[in-house]
Amino acid sequence: MQVPASFDYERATSVDQAIALLERHGPEARLVAGGHSLLPMMKLRLAKPEVLIDINDLQDLSYVRVEGGELRIGAMTRHADLLASAVAGEHYPIFHDAERVIADPIVRNRGTIGGSLCQADPSEDLSAAFAAVKASVLIRGTGGERVVPVAELHTGPYETVVAPAEILIEVRIPIRPGGGSAYEKVERRVGDWAVAAAGAAVWLGGDGTITDVGIGLTAVGARHFLATEAEDSLRGRAATEESFSAAAALAAEHCNPTSDQRGPADYKRHLAGELTHRALRRAVARAGPAQASGDNAGQEA
């Protein structure tokens, strides 16, 4: 039987109150949202917070909407809600691809976007997906709010720049015309962490060249969950199988997988390349017809 160490339980009634509770209780207090990362760790006593602050009543943090030219996802949005969100799927189908292979339908009813990002598992799928689309997160604390690019959110396994008395509020993704996105994951079974996974977002110019690209990798030790060298190789190039192949090889070369129960490092490295290639191919196919004039203004993604 897995029993957590004892703790005190508080329930937050608002975002500000959650921050006040974190301030009052100090670094041994943890927020609990969906709980499907934190509670298993507590049951194994890998995490022993002294106070749990339940934020499941913060419904005003549960939303998926377009605002200020961005797709904004509230931190308390459940994985199931992001999967079901038509507006998210319309602008960034990468999120639907990724959510379909995150956990399972029942766990997705509870787990949240903010919780997954803040748990910062090195195999977290959304970390790679959000990195690929160049998302940022809004973080709030007693000192006010700040915006941090997802590429700068993680400082190591299970570590983020979110301070002990701060709360992640929402994820923001710029909406840009002429783009397509996709996610590819290999897992041993449903609900498992990835053996390797890759997400790609591509924007095309009028002549079909790649004007911008984002490639996110998870579970393979990619720095900031990004395949930066692969991205750099694609900008300004034609969107062809050859350019995808070259980018895939760079993605594979520059990641740092480790051998474990999910597979040997060379297999993961191979997957990083292959899945990058497949994600690029599908992202470009979704980018739709190129514009005649090459002027990106005014076209819906």
């Binding site: 004892s6 005190d8 339980y9 749990l52 029942i106």
Partner: protein, 137 residues
Amino acid sequence: MQVTMTVNGEEVSREIEPRLLLVHFVRDTLGLTGTHWGCDTSNCGTCVLWMDGTPAKSCTVLAAMAHGRDVRTVEDLERGGVLDPVQQGFMEEHGLQCGFCTPGMMMTARWLLDNNPDPSETDIRECISGQLCRCTG
């Protein structure tokens, strides 16, 4: 701490430790042993019950988190002596062998059919993909 919640339509209040899991609250504190306890790690789904209308793996929910919420367990599928069509169907179509996974499977099936009355085989397979059955595979 004291928790109060609605379980199968009835309000219940009990004094608990914050670390008590909802699966143990339901089974041991309330005596509703229809919800089963399996892997304890949110994998097998034998502990699935409904919280505020959606299935949740109760081994990974604190009873404290269910305070003020609406919980429905497999015992509530039968109403006034009449089996839910899901229960009837599992019986008639041999949808169980040992029965260990069955409560969770039925609670998820009931939710699926409430939201999607005519699911495809793919819909069904995906919906129960987070639950394990050792007997039927």
